[in-house]
Amino acid sequence: MLALKLAYKNILGAGLRTLLNVSVLSLAFVLIVFYNAMIDGWNRQGKIDTQEWEIGEGQFWHPDYNKFDIYSYREANQEIDANVQQLIDQNEVLPVLIQQATIYPQGRMQSIVLRGIPADQQLLKLPTKGLNMQEGICPAIIGKRMAKSTKLKTNDKVLLRWRDINGTYDAIELRIDTIFKCDVADVDNGQIYIDYHVMQKLMGMKNCATLLVSSNSELKDLDGWNYRSTDVLLKDLNDLTNSEKISGMVIQSILLMIALLAIFDTQVLSIFRRKREIGTYIALGLTRKQVVGIFTVEGGFHSILAAIVGAIYGIPLFIWINQTGLSIGEADMGITVAEVIYPFYSLQLILISIVLVVLSSTIVSYIPAHKIVKMKPTDALKGK
């Protein structure tokens, strides 16, 4: 308590130097919180979007299905048995049929992934209503990125060509019914959606599915299907955000190091200049260890001021950004990222940041202060 009061007075007495230390440290503090909140916000939005648009509460894959190997798609489907059919009827799972195919937008040839999904499904956010056959031409829906890369617009017609189950080539014309906006890259890039039953007919794969999207997180076992939990399916997103966090750490640690160096420097100087004061404390009855404590608390106190100062300008800034969101532009990267990210500030993040900043500045304050233990009180009093 005494040390805190003394630290408070001493540190405010130091004026400009304190201001400098505190500003740099608070900047590091705010940046750490903000950057990580951005990534957490991205991850959270990405998770929610991915679940809503693609994976639900998990998926069941045909044992041969490999998301990253389009050549595996051909064989990776199987007939739905009575048990699974019952689950489909109860809306517990949603069947999806996946095959490789080719489209010819404006005469160019483009390889795509064709997905058959029931037009009346409600499990995923995909606007599959548009897949209901109205006129003669088969409707399809695509995402924004796909529309951009193929230059297709709503109501455009495009030729679709595929090989059916017997290896025979066949083709029909598709009409782009809806172009949806979805931040999940895998739902959009290179994907064309048509009705599940239409696709079965086209492919000659009667009552077959490649995977089942589950709406029930309790359901983990289906005969003949391999369960993929949301954790497994979201691993890529988590890995990506984690690696972004780590690369952000470089800049954050540099800034933090600068701030810590400034505190370290202040401590060294202040112990050098305040020898007589140190001697006085000892003469007044403090042990040298207590004096070390006073100086350590004083240095560490920078971080408490930094947290307060950071809160003073950080909180309004954070609130403002959280209202507007942070637009990162239309990133056409092959990653799942929203156009506008809303940072997510968890209590955990803020507590960890505070502990990190306070602990590190206390440690760098202790290192020079520790030398006081070796000081002779009589020398200190002489200012030597």
Binding site: A283, L286, P377
Partner: protein, 235 residues
Amino acid sequence: MNNVVIDLKRLTKHFPVGNGKFTALSDINLSFSKGEFAGLVGPSGSGKTTLLNIIGSLDVPSEGSANVLGKSIAGLSQKQAAQLRNYHIGFIFQTYNLLPVYTVYENVEFALLLQNMTEGERRKAVMQALEWVGLTDKEKSKPSMLSGGECQRVAIARSMVKQPDIVLADEPTANLDSKNSHHILQTMQRLNEELGVTFIFSTHDEKVMQYLKRKISLADGRVVNDETVELIANR
């Protein structure tokens, strides 16, 4: 001899200098009784400060013994030495050594913060000490706003507030003009008489010497003269 507060026997102090050693004090035999108003006088480098530091448990003897309030200085742990200083010994320095960020009140209060006292008890003691030195009206000032004489009076209040047994004053008037010096000395003399606190000075200031009841002369680390003075009335 039953009221002895400080007892030094064959006290010697060496300092390492280069490869050899420098003897700052040699074979000092002195004892001080409760309530003395004594001074160490002698030329610069004669060992006055060194001796006060040992009595104040800021340093230890190289040889011989120093007993202060029944405790052997050499045998004290850091913590015990700190306790001894905190409760029983007050220091006054030539350079005042006030804490610049604290007010007068807080400077005086500081030593009491280490003791088990309530806020109210502390307040009473601090105001009393400020009254002794005539500075009650300056309790909220910072040391930078005070004159040298006032600073030294604050330092006296700080050393006296805990009602110590011994006050060690190392050249307390060296930075003061004669008017302030007299004022300071009269204050200390009064406190010595009223409270029975033992004062030991180091000085080569003539003004101080006329107040001393006992004058111990040091030269080259040895006691060359130890006389009890018949008090010459102040002027």
